[in-house]
Every structure is written in structure tokens, then in C-alpha cells.
Subunit: 479 residues, 2 copies
């Protein structure tokens, strides 16, 4: 294990965290809020740890996939613990586990909250909550890669471990350039959304917070009723951008490179949009009688479907009271998730596509035992290792789900709340049904359950394996 | 497709069904019940179709895995449709879909019922319900294999498709002899259970029905409160035999062959018993306060755990009112299921073992990318095909689950009832929670939902693939 290199990168994580806190810091100055001091204190702590760490000697240049995964997992832990300090220091969330829950929920773009009254928070705290979504959405290590002059095989192994989806495709030969392209698209789209929301008459502070939340598919709101009190125009803008941020960013790069046909042929994106279309129509028809017109039902269905499949988790209506058919569709979409290479969570459409194609092949083999056929996606054969890793992902994902469910069931809340609480945290969605529905929050669970869900949120964002490696003795052995 | 051979075997299915109905027929004579006429009529119909079919010329001797799977799937359909006739003709269950549901539930050893008052049924009808469990438990084609002088590659391909588990191991080189050994053990154990129940003072008719239900891990009761009104002694006898019938029958064969050490080393059986032990203790502690003593809580926990993990589905208490932790354990056990090569349903312990071992290997590969390790079970390497098929089983199983859940949610029953209704039918358990809990029944669902669940019960019993092949156009093409 290359400890010197790992602590070097962790040092940069501390330093970047301090830099990120400039934004809430400035907000505090503008609004003259004393919570700003909490950010100042945290920044000093971060730099005091971070600067010595990046000055240590790096003897060893070897950096395997294993080191990449461990570094990413540890980075996210460090990021979350340091990010939770302002909540504790300012007294906004006094208990450390609660503060950690809220911060992990932020960085992993889950958006599950233990707070019942977010409107009582100060502006700088609200902005920090939403900004963690934006940082976590595209990935903090991908961000560091854009700026840091790392050499050697680090890049790919770090990016592989942090980027969501069954396989990472480099847009351009250099990993650092890929990271830069991704962040450029990310920043541009965030700004465009802000402009559209401003045009709808939304205050600047709100556009900033909500755009961060949409871009990272995070879902922390700044009002107690999430998005319900904003105008229909702004709800529609957010719907469109939620769906756009759930698209594989490769497609945008192809569009920018004027390879429109190639972008339009992307199988994952086509299935993703197809599922969204079907789900919206089904729910709109099913909830028709609950709204004043079919148009209104359609708009609300589109918002909820977009919010859930992209795992954003904003809400404009309490879907707890919808008919069971519509609720079942939403729960299924919670597992489907967005595209690989987007900021969304869940199992991902491409994984499900790979599994579907594998299953069809298995059935074919029953009929023609000697036919050897490769599984293809976007006209390219999928390597055997990707199929195997996808299968294993599904199983380990189920195991984590079941174990978590069992532990939190000790709190004796009802089964639907428990089931959707794990669904909402492991898939980085935010709200579930029942006690953790759009009008509820996660404060009702015990601290043990919250720690379990903190693990689930991180496992969901890092796609299981990096986090599991931390708990394997073999990982820490020298060889 | 070898149609002549398939219709020959289907002919035998009709004839055997007629033979099976002699048992309820005799019961009707003993109890002088006019429902016996329904069996007489059905027997005549079956023979009228079956005898001409077995007389047709068989030109073609080729019989692939494909033909095996299709034959088994069609056999189970024929068996169920013919088996439902007595219910309709006697008027015990007037609607054909309801009657088919009850019969499929019987043969697939699910034990889910649409009846709210089984005590009003005649003895011969009750016996037929329970007898279908016994026939379906070890498999009707395995039974026919014992008696029919088939030649060629039929045997293995039929047995593969009907026997539960990721891979079929022949106990002895000849498949027909393997089938005979399995049925001998099956009959012996059923008789031993009857003797133990008779010693506990249970009436002969009850012992017959309940032993059939236990042996097949079926779960149809003959009282409205299932097993609750029987003595504690008899409940304990049933607990022990439920667990025994969930054991891989290979272990019994090894015991009979005096290879005790080899039997004791069977990994699947050891994990199966370990899971049962843990679950009983956890539930007994959790439900301690609901019973008069810890011993009573332990006995009730043992009964429910044995009933659920073996997918029998008998009940002695309404676990709907248990704490959420205990209910969650039971729901998890519903998916785990019994051992491969037993009469139980569910995913099967050995499949989960294979998946766990594969996942561990995948994690190892992260650490040592070049290490090539085979997954082993009982000290034998598991073939790559078995691992792949197991993965695909899991995925297709989930797809069927999700699709079914979506369709039945249109009935607008609550989500827990829907979720456990599909769990209980796809895993061949019987009772679920909520409206389909131990004190409820499946009568509340629409006919469309019942048809979906009929499909699920068959898919569960035949382990998905044979049934899916029926719906593939490619299957019916000549080549
Ligand atoms: K989210
Ligand atoms: K059963």
C-alpha cells in the first residue's frame, strides 16, 4: 500500500475543503451571519492538517487500482467529517452523528435530511448544504485531477473508483483533459440553469442553492416544502435540468464535438429517456383525478419521475398519498437510477441494460448450446470482466441492502419506511415513503441506524467496492 | 422441436393424473361424499386424452435440453389445468381462475389459498389439495422417470429442468436409479412423519394431509387456523420435519450409504442449519414478551422460521403482529429458501453461497488483479457456467418480481401486501404479510393479479428458465 501517496492526496482534500468553504464564508459576510465563524474555524483546522500532509516526501510512485479505490474511499470520509464541522460548531446541528449524516447526505448527493425545519437555518449554512451536492456530484477527486499536476497511473485509478457506472470511458486519451472537459460541461450547465431560474423571477440565493442541488442530483431544498412553493415555470425548468443532469456526460461531449448522430445512438440515453416517458404517462393517467387538469397531472408526474429516476429527490407534492400503482412505479425508478457517467445515483440504466442482454444471451444458450455470442452495447462488445463485475455489483448491493434493512428494523418503525429509507440512502435519492416521505425526515431513526445509512450513502455514491475494500484486512497488508 | 416425444410424455401426465385421483376418489367413498363424482369425471377426461396420446408413433429420438425444459413447463401446465377440474366440477371453487390458482398453488407447493373457510370443504377435496403438494414436491416427471421405460437422453434433460437448484447431481450413474432413490427417501420420510403425528394423537386423515403438506413444503392446512390448534408436541414434530424436508436429499443418500462424514461436510446444509439457528434465537429474543415463557417463544420462533425458510408456509401464530425486526427476518428468509435438491422453494442456500463466493473473489481481484482463483463448494470447483447461470437467475428473478409487483399494484391494495404476495408466490411460500398474512388469503386480488401470481408460482417452482422458454418465439422454430 502506497501510504505516502495516499496521505499526499488526503492532504489536498483538506486544503480543497478549506477552499470550498470560501463560498459559504463570503455568504456569511454578505448576510452578516455569525455562523460564518464556524466556517473560518473549520478552514483553519483543515489547512493545519492539509498543508503539512502535502509537504511529506513521496518515495513510492506505484499506484494500483487498489490504492485508487482506498484513496477515494478515505477521501470521501475525510471530506465528510471535515464538512460536518461547521454544522456542529455553529450549533445548527449539535449532535456529531446528525451533522455527519447531513454532510454525507450532501456530498453523496443523497439529500436525505434529519432536519424538520430548514427555513430556520442561516444562509451560509443553507448554501454549504447545497454546495456539498455540487462538489460531490461530479466528484471531488475528478475536480482535483483537473488542477493537480499528478503524474503516473494515478489518474485513471482514481477516476475509475470515483466515477459512477460499470466502466469509465475516457473522452480523450489524457485523463486530466477528460476531467477538465467534464467539469467544464458541468459548470456551464449549472450556470445555464441559474439563468433560466433567474428569468422565472427566482431570487439569486435560491437559484444558486437549487442549481447546485439539481446539478449534483442532490435534492436538499431551502424551503420546508422543497420545491412546491415555486412557480410552475420554475418547476418545469428544474424538471428539465434534473433530467439533463441524469444523462451520460459522454453524450454532451459528443454533441459539443458535433458528433450528433453518435450521441443520438447512445443506447443508455435512449432507454433512460424511454423509461422516463413511459413512467410519466403511466403516473399522469393514474393520478389524473387528483389534479385540476390532465396537464397539471402530467407536469407533476414529470417532476416526480425526473426527480426520482435521476435520484435528485426534490418534491413538489406528497407522493405518499398517490395511488399504489404510481408509488410502486416511483419505488422501481428509485432502483433504476440515472445514466452512468452522470451525477445521478441508483443502479444505473447501463447496468440494467448489460444485465438484460446477459439474461437474453443465457436464454439463447438454452436453445443453441454451442452458439457463442458476445453482448454488445453501442455496437461495441462488452468485455467479460464488465459483465462479471456488474453481476457482482448487483449481488453485493442486495446484500448491503438486506443487512441494512435488518439493522434499522430494530428501531421498530413500519416496514415501508424502513424499506424506502434504505432504498433512498443506498441509491442516493433522499426522500422515501412513510415516515421518510417528502413531508417527513430521517430524524426519527436511532444513531445506530443513522450510521448504517451513512455507510449506505457512501456505498451508493462510490458504488460499493471501494468502501468494502476499507474493511478487508488483506487491503492493509504489505506485499 | 420433437413434438411427437413431447405429446407422448404429456399423454403420460394425463394418465398419471387420473391415477393420482384414485386417492381422493377412495376418500370420497369412505366418507360417502358426492364430490367424489367430480374426480370420477376428471379421471375419465384425463384418460380419454392421455391414452390416445401415448399410442402415437414417436419418429424422432432426439431430445435436447430445450425439449426437456419445454416438456417440463407444458407438463406442469397440463397437470394444473386437469388438477383444477375437480374443484370446478364439484363447485368447491366455482371460478376457473380461482380453481387454477388453488391447484397451481398446490402442485408448485406454494400453499397460497383464495379460500377463507377451508373447514367447509369435503374430505376428498381437502385430501386432493394436500396431495398435490406431495406430487409437486419431488416432481411429477421425476416420479414418471422412476416408472417409465424411457430411453435416450430424455432422463437427464427432464430432471435438470424439474429439479430445484443451480445444478443437478446424479447420485448414481443412471438417472432412473437416482429418481428411484429420491422417491424412496421421500416416501419413507413422509411415512415416518405420519407415525410421529399419529403417536401425538392426531386423527389419521389429518396426519395424511399434513404430512403431504410438510413433505412437499406445501403448506395447505385443513383447519382455518392452519396448525395453531394442534398440540405443542405435534407442532414440534412438524417443525422438525419441515426443516428435514428442506435439506438437500443428497445428504440423506450419503447417510444411507453410510458416508456420514461426507454428509456432515455438505456446505449448503451447514449454512442452512446455521441460518435457521441464528434466526430462531434472534426472533425468540425479540418476541420474548409476547409469550408466557422464553421456551414458548423459542418453540413458536422455531416453527415460523422452519416454516418460512423451507417455504412450507404453515402458521401457528399471526406473525403480522410481531415486532418489525422479527417480521423483517421472516421476509428475508422468504427469499433465502431451502437447500437445492430439497422440496423447498426460494432462491436456495447454495445459490446464495455461490454468489457470496463470487463476490469475495471479485473483491480479491481488485487487490490482486492477476490472481486466478476458482470458486469452490464442497471442495469441488464450481464450473463457470453454473456461476453465470446463477447470476442470470438472480437478475431474471428480480425482473419477474418487479414486473409482477407493478401489475398487481393496479388493484390498489397496500404495498406490504403486494410486496409479500409476490414474495410468497414467486418463492412458493404461501402466506405473506398484511392482507395475505397467516390470517388472510389471496381472494382479495383481481383475476388478472391471480393470473400473474399463477405465473409466478410456476416460475418459482420451475426456476424461471423453462417457463420463459415457452414465451420465446425461437423455441418453436424448426431448425
Ligand atoms: K438525491
Ligand atoms: K409453501
Amino acid at each position: 500500500m502506497n501510504y505516502s501517496m495516499i496521505s499526499y492526496i488526503l492532504g489536498w482534500i483538506f486544503n480543497f475543503e478549506a477552499a470550498f468553504m470560501l463560498l459559504p464564508g463570503i455568504t456569511a459576510i454578505i448576510y452578516r451571519e455569525k455562523d460564518g465563524l464556524a466556517f473560518l474555524v473549520t478552514m483553519i483546522i483543515c489547512l493545519a492538517i492539509g498543508i503539512p500532509l502535502i509537504r511529506t516526501k513521496r518515495k513510492n510512485k506505484v499506484f494500483h487500482a487498489k490504492e485508487g479505490a482506498v484513496t477515494v474511499a478515505l477521501s470521501w470520509l475525510v471530506l465528510s467529517i471535515a464538512g460536518a464541522l461547521p454544522f456542529v460548531i455553529s450549533g445548527s446541528i449539535p449532535h456529531p452523528v446528525d451533522a455527519l449524516f447531513e454532510t454525507v447526505s450532501g456530498f453523496t448527493t443523497t439529500g436525505a435530511s434529519i432536519l424538520s425545519d430548514v427555513e430556520s437555518l442561516s444562509h451560509c449554512i443553507l448554501l454549504w448544504r447545497s454546495f456539498t451536492h455540487w462538489i460531490g456530484g461530479m466528484g471531488v477527486l475528478v475536480f482535483i485531477l483537473c488542477l493537480l499536476p499528478l503524474t503516473g497511473g494515478y489518474h485513471m485509478n482514481l477516476m475509475k473508483a470515483e466515477s459512477p457506472g460499470p466502466s469509465v470511458s475516457k473522452l480523450v486519451p489524457k485523463v486530466q483533459s477528460t476531467a477538465k472537459i467534464l467539469y467544464t460541461i458541468y459548470i456551464l450547465m449549472t450556470v445555464v440553469e441559474m439563468v433560466f431560474l433567474l428569468l422565472g423571477g427566482m431570487p439569486l440565493f435560491d437559484t444558486l442553492c437549487l442549481s447546485f442541488g439539481t446539478a449534483g442530483t442532490g435534492g436538499f431544498g431551502i424551503k420546508n416544502d422543497s420545491i412546491a412553493s415555486y412557480s410552475t415555470y420554475n418547476q418545469i425548468v428544474i424538471t428539465v435540468f434534473m433530467i439533463l443532469f441524469g444523462v451520460n456526460f459522454n453524450a454532451y461531449y459528443l454533441l459539443l464535438s458535433k458528433k450528433v448522430m453518435q450521441a443520438a445512438k447512445n443506447e443508455e440515453v435512449r432507454y433512460y429517456l424511454g423509461i422516463i416517458g413511459l413512467a410519466i404517462v403511466a403516473i399522469a393517467v393514474n393520478t389524473r383525478d387528483m389534479f385540476t387538469s390532465f396537464g397539471r397531472a402530467f407536469q407533476q408526474a414529470a417532476f416526480q419521475v425526473g426527480s426520482i429516476i435521476t435520484t435528485t429527490g426534490y418534491a413538489t407534492t406528497d407522493f405518499n398519498v398517490w395511488p399504489v400503482f404510481s408509488k410502486t412505479i416511483l419505488v422501481i425508478l428509485m432502483f433504476v437510477g440515472a445514466c452512468a457517467g452522470s451525477t445521478g445515483g441508483g443502479i444505473k440504466v447501463s447496468r440494467l441494460l448489460i444485465l438484460c442482454k446477459s439474461a437474453r444471451k443465457e436464454l439463447q444458450l438454452y436453445l443453441h448450446p454451442n452458439a457463442v455470442k458476445k453482448i454488445k452495447m453501442d455496437e461495441k462488445a462488452i468485455p467479460h470482466e464488465v459483465v462479471r463485475a456488474t453481476n457482482m455489483f448487483l449481488f453485493v448491493y442486495i446484500m448491503i441492502f438486506v443487512t441494512s434493512l435488518l439493522v434499522i428494523s430494530l428501531d421498530n418503525l413500519d416496514m415501508i419506511s424502513n424499506f424506502t429509507a434504505i432504498t433512498a440512502t443506498l441509491n442516493n435519492i433522499g426522500p422515501g415513503l412513510g415516515a421518510v416521505g417528502p413531508t417527513g425526515n430521517f430524524g426519527c431513526y436511532s444513531y445506530i441506524s443513522k450510521l448504517v445509512m451513512i455507510f449506505d450513502m457512501l456505498a451508493g455514491r462510490l458504488e460499493v467496492f471501494p468502501l468494502l475494500l476499507l474493511f478487508k484486512r488483506d487491503t492493509w497488508r504489505k506485499f
